[in-house]
Structures are given as C-alpha cells and as structure tokens.
C-alpha cells in the first residue's frame, strides 16, 4: 500500500472527531430546555454552516490567486473549494429544513438567511457547470475565477443578513448564549468539519490537477509511469 498522505491523515482525524463530537452531542449533552432533543441538530448544522462559508471564502481567495498568477495549481484548489462549498451548502440547506420544521413550524420560509443561502448554493453550482462546458484550460480558469469573485458578494450577505435585517432565522449564537455543556460538542464538530473539508478540498484539487495534466502537455506528469506495476496496457505513441 501507498504511504498515508497528509490529507488522508487530516481526513481520518476529522472523521474521528466528527464521531466523538456527534456522540457527545447525541448522548452526553443535555437536551435544550424548550427545543428538547431537536436542538441536537445544532451540532451538525452550525459546523456545516460555518465551514461551508469558510470554504467558499477560501475559494474566493484561490480565485484571486489563480487570476493573479495564472498557475493551474490555484485553479485546481479553487475548484476543490468551490465544489466542497457547494456540497456542504446543499447539506446545510437540508439540515436547516429538518431543524426548521419542528422548531419554526415550517419547512421553508423566504426569509433573508434562507434566501441568500439558496442563492449561494445555486450560483456556485452554476460555476461548476460552467467549468464543465469550457474546453480550454486557461479560459476555464479565468472565467470560473471571475464568476467566483462576482458571486462571492453573496457570502458575506449570508453571514451578516441576520444582523442587518429582521429575519425568522435567529442571529448567530455566541459562547455567552449557549450553555457550556453544549459548546464542547459544537467545537469538536466544527473542527471535525473543518478537517473533513480540508480533506475534500485536497482530494478534489488533486483530481482537478490530474485532469488538467491529461488535457495539456505543458504540465509535468504526476510521477513516472510505473512500468511493471501497471497491468498490461497497450503502449501507444
């Protein structure tokens, strides 16, 4: 077997922490005084929200770096961050609906938080679709970076809108507003989600780099062909 890569270690740590944090959240932490057991959804919902926005912020940074340097490396990392952000954002929306039904009494409502989050998920999905349609690597890199930068306008809105506007969604909690017994699992799961997201971004970037290498001859191969270890493949010119 291959030696463990750094991203695999981070992924494993993240998975382990998610299991521990969720266990504490599900069985050790107390139920909330009004929400009862349903409040336990916080331990996955809030970390997903934080990390999805964080990952998209990273994508914004990578997009600027990609445009500035023109290096395929940044383009690949930006793709990884965007896709991870979309996956986490979609998950966030579903978790939110599951939490909203028992507490608010509705599955969905067009309040600012929910609307801006939906815009965020849909737009960055559009960026991924755009990538799949552009054949030339340089053009694809620039265009998707441009789209990410324009679309990022929405992400601060998602975070701050609950403070700026009256909404159905409550404003962000802080350590003062959350019971101390609930903070521990929340923190563990937040870091778990962060590590898992880093793992996803690393894997997806690696995939994108491999694809870019296949497309262009300009990039050096990942490693020398392994000769004997590879099952017999017809060698072509």
């Amino acid at each position: 077997m291959k030696r463990l890569r750094w991203d695999a270690i981070i992924g494993l740590v993240g998975l382990l922490m998610l299991l521990v944090g969720s266990y504490i959240g599900l069985f050790a932490a107390p139920p909330e005084r009004h929400m009862g057991e349903v409040q336990r959804l916080m331990y996955v919902h809030v970390p997903t929200a934080w990390i999805s926005m964080l990952v998209l912020t990273a994508a914004f940074g990578f997009a600027i770096a990609s445009m500035w340097t023109g290096r395929p490396k940044w383009d690949a990392v930006m793709t990884g961050a965007t896709e991870t952000g979309v996956v986490l954002g979609a998950l966030l929306t579903v978790q939110g609906m599951i939490w909203a039904k028992p507490t608010w009494g509705v599955w969905w409502d067009w309040d600012v938080r929910l609307t801006t989050t939906l815009i965020m998920v849909l737009f960055f999905t559009g960026v991924l679709v755009l990538r799949s349609y552009v054949a030339e690597p340089e053009r694809r890199a620039t265009w998707s970076a441009v789209a990410v930068i324009v679309g990022y306008v929405d992400v601060p809105l998602v975070y701050f809108c609950v403070r700026w506007f009256r909404s159905l969604h409550q404003v962000q909690s802080s350590p003062e507003t959350v019971a101390s017994t609930m903070i521990t699992p929340l923190r563990i799961n937040a870091f778990a989600m962060l590590f898992l997201a880093i793992w996803f971004v690393a894997r997806r970037s690696r995939l994108e780099l491999a694809r870019l290498r296949r497309e262009s001859v300009a990039l050096p191969p990942r490693r020398a062909p392994r000769g004997t270890a590879v099952p017999e493949a017809p060698q072509e010119g």
Partner: protein
Amino acid sequence: MSERRRRLVITLVAVLVSGGVLAYLALGGIGENLVYYWSPSELNASGDQAIGASIRLGGLVEPGSIEREPDGLTLRFAVTDGEESVRVAAKTVPPAMFREGIGVVVEGTMRSDGWFETRRLMVKHDNEYAAPGKDEDLDIKELMKSMQFDESAT
C-alpha cells in the same frame, strides 16, 4: 509596469466601491426598513392602510393572552413588542414550542375589526440555548433584543 499599476488601481477602486456599498447597506440603516415582518407598533401606526394587505407580523406572545376557541380550531393570542400589541386569530395548529413570551412571526391580513387573521404561524427562536432547569425569566427587554426590535428603536 505602469499598465499593471493602472489596472491595480482600477481594481482597488472597484473593490473599495463594492465593499463601501455593501457596508452602506449594512450600516446605513436601510435594513430596518426592509423588514421581513412588522412589529405591532409599526402595524398599529399604519392604521387603516394595512387592512387587507398581506403582511407578516412579528413579536412576542403576550403572557396570559393565549385563548383557544371551543371549536378547537382557532387560537387567539396577542403579539406584543413591549409597547403595543395586536390581537391575532390563528386558524392553524401551533408549533410545539409555542408558549407565552416566545417570538412568533405570523403571516396574514389585518381585518377591519382589529384582529389579525393568520393561517401561517411560525415560531422564532432566539440564539440562546440552555439546558433544562434554568430559571425561566420573562424579561421582555431581553426577549425583545432577540427579536431585533431594539435596533429599530435606536
């Protein structure tokens, strides 16, 4: 090199303008007016103009105001923001968290007889999460803060 610097300046200006406009949206106070729901005071202040329009009303369920009609279908309570209140007739099953002093958002219309009629009743939870057994304090000022009414007061 000067071409590069010129573009850098242009980019910087664009970023500053966009950021400034976003900051203005945030701090300029227009958010208070683009409300997702009206407070009872605002609704009462608008008087007859609000009658018949589709409106969202948000506030706290006034303690001691909850009544259930004998038919078991209509729920009556008052929504308050600490200063004024509006009587609400809700033809819906309330969510389980519905209680005295909790934040609610109701969607419906103001009737000419002074009742706000709704079929969509949503509970607005604040950002406090506490273990059971903690003393329940119906501090209206604190609860109002969670409904973000204090911002419109200042």
